[in-house]
């Protein structure tokens, strides 16, 4: 009995020390990216950045596309972030909806699993999936593995490229370029692991969807009011016609 008590006391001391250390790290980290997380609680060391896209507020103006292009100088024909238009129905019963797209920064990223050089990985501290140009060999395996077609081969560098949630801005406490520029406030960025953040509140209070949920990738980009109609639905009698428009070089969703 005595021995057990001694052990549990030791364990308690250890846990306490661990918690103290964690708190110290949190305090050190929390200075950064406060603006982006919208006043995160200062108890965690790990974040999970994510985005909510309120499609009801999107007007399809492509401001996010352009902001992203100019932020990174993305080569012609390629996009890290883009907007798709989906037209459906036959006259006079027609509809058009917008779907802003970007890398979903999945919690189970298939691109990371297949990378042969560990050039692409999910950052432990904030859940952002990044590409290390120093290791990438341009084999294009990850481009195939992504079910969202979010990756492309940068024709200038020859390496795989994609959205990185504007890591250089976010680490300085500034919102990503697409979020900053969105005229309707349709894109909201923040820390999903913080229950008080705007994104967490939006997800809790609204009906949200993610893209290709059945792939099991656990995306961290959520949509409110997204129309998931795809070209495959054109065969359905109530729609008859579905047309997905994108200005990307790869004009088809796949």
């Amino acid at each position: 009995m005595l021995k057990v008590n001694a052990i549990s006391a030791a364990r308690r001391r250890f846990v306490k020390a661990l918690a103290g250390g964690a708190a110290a790290i949190t305090a050190a980290v929390s200075g950064t990216a406060r603006g982006a997380t919208g006043g995160a609680e200062k108890k965690k060391t790990k974040r999970q950045y994510g985005m909510v896209i309120d499609v009801r507020k999107c007007i399809g103006c492509h401001a996010c596309t352009v902001a992203c292009k100019s932020e990174f100088g993305v080569p012609l024909g390629e996009n890290r972030s883009w907007v798709e238009y989906t037209e459906k129905g036959t006259y006079p019963n027609v509809g058009r909806s917008f779907l802003p797209r970007l890398c979903n920064h999945c919690s189970e990223p298939p691109c990371v699993k297949v990378c042969p050089t560990n050039a692409t990985y999910r950052r432990e501290q904030d859940g952002i999936v990044v590409i290390d140009d120093g290791l990438c060999i341009g084999c294009k395996y990850c481009i195939h593995a992504c079910p969202y077609n979010a990756r492309f081969l940068n024709p200038v560098t020859g390496f795989a490229d994609k959205c990185d949630f504007c890591i250089h801005r976010v680490s300085q406490g500034v919102e990503p370029a697409c979020v900053n520029t969105c005229v309707g406030g349709a894109r909201i960025f923040g820390d999903l692991s913080d229950p008080g953040s705007t994104v967490s509140q939006l997800i809790a209070k609204n009906r949200v969807t993610v893209l290709r949920r059945e792939m099991g990738t656990l995306p961290n980009v959520y949509y409110i009011g997204a129309d998931h109609t795809d070209e495959i639905d054109a065969s359905r009698p109530e729609l008859r016609q579905v047309h997905v428009i994108t200005h990307r070089k790869q004009t088809k969703r796949r």
Binding site: L99, P110, K113, V114, C115, P116, T117, N118, A119, L135, C136, I137, G138, C139, K140, Y141, I143, H144, A145, C146, P147, N149, L153, G158, L211, R212, E214, M215, G216, H228, T229, D230, I232, D233, K249, Q250, T251, K252, R253, R254
Partner: protein, 317 residues
Amino acid sequence: MAHELNWGMPVILYLFLAGVGAGTVTVSASVLLRGGGGGFGGRHFAIARYGALIGPLPVIIGTSLLVFELGRPFRALNLFKLINLSPMNIGSWFLGLFIVVSVLYALLFLPWPPIIWDRLQPWRKALAWICIPLGIGVALYTGIMLGAMPSRPFWNSPILALLFLVSALSTGIALIIFAQAMLYEPPPDNPAAEKRFHQSGYLLTASDLILIGFELMVIFLFIMFAYLTVGNVKYAVAVILPGGDLAAAFWLWVVVVGLLIPIIIELIYVVPKLLYHRDYESSRTADMVISLAVLAGGFMLRYVVVIAGQVTGPVGL
């Protein structure tokens, strides 16, 4: 089609050439170790030698294509800075080791002076034992690599790797048959050598027959299960079913030219010996037709699979 082909002809050629080369060396090593006594003077030593000498070439050519396709060839060295569980990483290690070992294996079959030639025999056997697992690894990993992605429903099948392995061994045998038909000079007035030539021909043709039969079975299973599914895989496999964009390439080239024509010719030659114990008589023309058809079919299989996987994707969003 508005689809961008990220993996184009260099990759298709690599998948084909690496499969052929790995298959050739694996078959050569198997024949050397277990092909009727083996060893110098063993009945089938000649075909083991053909395979050993030719096998590494296609693998090296294919790998060079692949490395130069990257745009920055020296970047490929990054693959060997670490080991992870990506099929491409494990495959690269297999490929690198295979090239080294198979080149050494081939060097042992060069026309050395007789004194050295006999002493090399234990080394040939030792390297043959290493070549077989490495060759199977190289032939298999390309299928595992394509099959590893749920976002590519056409490829995402466990049977694809098996299909590639069987096709690699079959095309490997075809390359040895082709080499034998091209290079073999029957020595005059030597019935024993003549007999050995026909026995080797029978071994190769009968093995190829079994492999092609197996390959037809694997293709049947692949298509049947895809057809019976609803969803992503069904829509993906529709491109090779009648009416699909790749149907002609698949059914005419892969199935008819690559599998049915060779299997019928092989049956005509093999059945008399198999059923009625007549002497097998190989014909140079038939061997040429069989081997070229199998090789063409093997290439078209890689072509159809690589293209089909890229022009199809998951349905719905």
